[in-house]
């Protein structure tokens, strides 16, 4: 007999780590995802994972990692969980090392490290330039090992529809739909973990995978889970714009010596190096994205007068580049048609990551008892800006914590057996789905999605103005009204991707309002949230976590204190070394 049953939704790093931890403790696991784990978005992560393993003898420490993360996040992250994450990071790397992840090695056969942004140490372990893929596969293999022993069942090709609560409000399972047969079913469990990734599709143009629908988190929010710091959206400075997706050129390109420049007065101008001498090309993402925006939009100095600057690796040794960055150079070559070993790449910022997400406590449990969240869908580890290499770390560490959290939770608490809630919720979900299949208005859901993406990208990314945020929220309400008039052009009861898309779109529209209104309310600049009308960070009024509660008329915002017990907030600037800011 198993010690209890847990449902994990998501086969990315966070979901698989949770799964393995729960299985190890003897829990039975049912793992749900859109598809096989190897297709999860985590596979896209390129640059690497941060851990102060100090294999280069620079004297790097977990405290320094912790301080960089808090400083990089502009002091908005709760410090206790971030400290836990940084302290555990080297052990996490060694665990993956034991499980067979092929990290790049030094001459001595030890794990190699490189530099990423916002940091003055070599602290990022990597596996070529496809680190996420490698870490993901490692965990997937371990889950398969348990599958072979019959301890875990995978439901791949299923969409999570809703969490189900018993009469006391305790989470007792989920409803989900199989995306081929379109069958809707309820699944009972003692606890549920959401590890469903980021909401990238809300912005249309993003570096995220198409599976980053954000639907699961939106649904949880609409069911009463608090959504925290939604307005903090990371824009990655270096992506290649594309018709279907903006492909990322990892920060590791700069970590390995890549330089960002454009022409000024006919000569190359390395503006990041000039403006930020202490960190140069390796300033954090929010800083780099704003600088590129300034160069292109304000100064009109983009390459060929367009919204583009160069990211240049052509001065580096091509053999070394292949070893350390092969995966991403291949992407530029295949999709951009040019060889980045020879010519500079053309890049521009793009939506990349959501620091905000489902509110969780330090055991990764949401405000619904028995419903946990981990990975990019939670809000826990990055404050106002995430450092490169901390994303995967937080997904893995969050998964470890959620795994432990769930094990502890099911020991003491179980949902009631008697509730009819599961059956009722299945009926409701079936009704909702039927209603979508009958939508017979005049609006095209894909056109609404495109408008949503355009508005969010134009008004709620790098630079934010209150009047435009207001207009964006009005637009979102208009889109919500138009949503009701959608016409569906596919009535099949087999593989109906269009009906599923429409359902997801509804969730995205609700969540977009959380992001937009959170940004509108926050009259300051902090990390990735930048308002020219309020350019200073305002700790007195805004050193607090935004909490959004769902209501049918839009999110209700409230605020929560931030845990700053270890490091006192100080001014964040990257033109000078970090030490100087400590004595200021």
């Amino acid at each position: 007999m198993a010690n209890g049953k847990v449902i994990v939704i998501g086969g990315g790093l966070a979901g698989l780590m949770t799964t393995v931890k729960a299985l190890e403790a003897g829990l039975e696991v049912e793992l749900f995802a859109y598809g096989p784990s190897k297709r999860s978005h985590s596979a896209c992560a390129q640059g690497g994972l941060n851990a102060a393993v100090n294999t280069m003898g620079e004297g790097d420490t977990t405290w320094e990692h912790f301080d960089d993360s808090i400083y990089g996040g502009d002091f908005l992250a709760n410090q206790t969980p971030v400290k836990g994450m940084c302290d555990t990071a080297p052990d996490i790397v060694y665990l993956f090392d034991r499980m067979g992840t092929m990290f790049n090695r030094s001459g001595e056969g030890r794990i190699q490290v490189r530099r990423l942004g916002g940091v003055q140490y070599h602290r990022t372990v990597f596996s070529g330039a496809t680190t996420g893929q490698q870490l993901l596969y490692t965990l997937d293999e371990q889950v398969r090992r348990f599958e072979d022993e019959g301890m875990v069942t995978r439901y791949e090709g299923w969409e999570f529809l809703s969490a189900v609560q018993d009469d006391n409000g305790v989470c007792m399972g989920i409803t989900a739909q199989e995306l081929t047969s379109m069958e809707i079913r309820a699944f009972k469990a003692d606890a549920v973990v959401m590890a469903t990734g980021g909401p990238g599709m809300m912005f249309g143009e993003t570096t995220n995978s198409t599976l980053n629908t954000g639907y699961a988190a939106a649904q949880a929010y609409m069911q009463g889970v608090k959504y925290a710091n939604g307005e903090f959206i990371q824009i990655h400075p270096t992506a290649i714009p594309g018709a279907d997706k903006n492909r990322l050129m990892s920060e590791s390109a700069r970590g390995e010596g890549g330089r960002v420049w454009t022409y000024k007065d006919g000569k190359p101008w390395y503006f990041l190096e000039e403006w930020y001498p202490a960190y140069g090309n390796l300033v954090p993402r929010d800083v780099a994205s704003r600088a590129i925006f300034k160069v292109c939009v304000d100064l009109g100095l983009g390459v060929d007068g367009k919204n583009m600057v160069y990211l240049d690796l052509s001065h580096k040794d091509p053999k070394e580049l292949d070893d350390k960055l092969g995966g991403i150079l291949e992407i530029y070559e295949k999709f951009g048609g040019q060889d980045p070993r020879k010519v500079p790449m053309k890049i521009f910022p793009a939506m990349h990551y959501s620091m905000g997400g489902l509110w969780v406590d330090f055991d990764q449990m949401t405000n619904i008892p028995g419903l946990f969240a981990a990975g990019e869908c939670d809000y826990q580890f990055h404050g106002a800006n995430r450092l490169g290499g901390n994303g995967m770390l937080s997904a893995i560490y969050g998964g470890l914590s959620a795994g432990k959290g769930v094990v502890g939770y099911v020991k003491n608490q179980r949902p009631s057996d008697k509730s009819a809630a599961l059956e009722q919720e299945v009926l409701k979900q079936k009704e909702d789905f039927k209603a979508i299949l009958q939508m017979d208005g005049s609006e095209n859901p894909y056109a609404i999605q495109n408008e949503l993406g355009d508005w969010m990208t134009k008004n709620v990314t790098v630079v934010r103005y209150n009047d435009r945020l207001k207009k964006t929220d009005e637009k979102l309400q208009e889109l919500t009204e138009r949503f009701e008039k959608i016409k569906i052009n596919n009535h099949n009861l087999w593989c109906n991707q269009n009906a599923v898309f429409i359902r997801q779109l509804w969730g995205r529209l609700q969540l977009a309002r959380v992001v937009t209104l959170g940004a509108l309310a926050r009259d300051e600049s902090r990390g990735a949230h930048y308002k020219p009308e309020f350019i200073e960070r305002d700790d007195e009024n805004w050193l607090k976590t935004t909490i959004a509660d769902y209501s049918p008329n839009g999110p209700k915002l409230s605020y929560e204190e931030v845990d700053i017990q270890y490091i006192k907030p100080r001014v964040r600037k990257y033109d000078v070394d970090k030490e100087e800011t400590m004595h200021a």
Partner: protein, 249 residues
């Protein structure tokens, strides 16, 4: 006249129904790939005859050729739709589902069998547990490089599609599985438990069924070193069998 892209797509409503061809014409954009052409159909599902139709169903995720989801046959070649740039393709572009896996709908197939075979081949490292107990074994950078190349296998199914010996009638697990077994017998910890994997690869559907057509080497979108992997595994499995035979005596 604005430029357009012609597509000819093999469609199938349900697994039991007959496939049929449908043609489309979508607006051209610079740098577009097959995925963005399919997205255009999704936006406006009208075929070339001007008839309203259902949008085409396909599988995709990362759109940068690391997830393996969007394999299909494009102009008679199995490959990823995301990295298939329209400018490089002759038109009309023909799109068909992979043929070695059951079709779910249109271009979407069910590749579960790949993961079942990975299970059979015990393609993982047997660690003692998921607690923290220091670093793993040291690995030389040369070994790491070969292992990394093998471990980029996305389980996309292209090699199986191209392999004449991988089909409904045969139990052959396919080239990708051989590559993964090579990977896990390479790792120092994996070596200690390699017998169980060699057993699987020496048995039914194992490496003995490889006909050495080498199609896999050519088709693999990630350029995995499959030639070397298959050669080395042939030797290892042979050695394992001899050892077993000697022991049995």
């Amino acid at each position: 006249m604005p430029k357009t892209v012609q597509l000819k797509i093999k469609r199938q409503e349900v697994p039991e129904s007959q496939p049929y061809w449908e043609e489309f014409e979508v607006p051209y954009q610079k740098n577009m790939n097959v995925i963005s052409a399919l997205m255009e159909i999704q936006l406006k599902p009208v075929n070339v005859k001007g008839q309203a139709t259902t949008p085409v169903v396909w599988d995709c995720s990362c759109l940068e050729e690391v997830c393996g989801a969007c394999s299909m046959i494009i102009n008679n070649k199995a490959r990823q739709a995301c990295s298939a740039l329209v400018d490089d393709l002759e038109q009309p572009i023909t799109l068909e589902p992979l043929t070695k896996f059951p079709v779910a709908c249109d271009l979407m197939v069910d590749r579960q069998i790949i993961f079942d075979y990975l299970k059979r081949a015990k393609a993982w490292i047997d660690v003692d547990g998921y607690f923290f107990s220091g670093p793993g074994p040291k690995v030389s950078e040369t070994t790491r490089r070969f292992a990394y190349d093998l471990s980029r296998c996305m389980s996309c199914g292209c090699c199986m599609e191209a392999c004449p010996n991988f089909n409904e009638k045969s139990a052959f697990m396919g080239p990708a599985i051989i590559g993964q077994v090579r990977l896990f017998t390479l790792h120092p910890t994996g070596q200690t438990s390699k017998d169980q994997r060699l057993e699987a690869l020496g048995g039914k559907g194992g490496i003995g069924d490889c006909g050495n057509s080498q199609n896999c080497i050519e088709i693999c979108p990630k350029g995995l070193p499959l030639r070397r992997a298959i050669g080395e595994m042939n030797r290892e499995v042979f050695g394992y069998k001899v050892k077993k035979w000697l022991k049995a005596d």
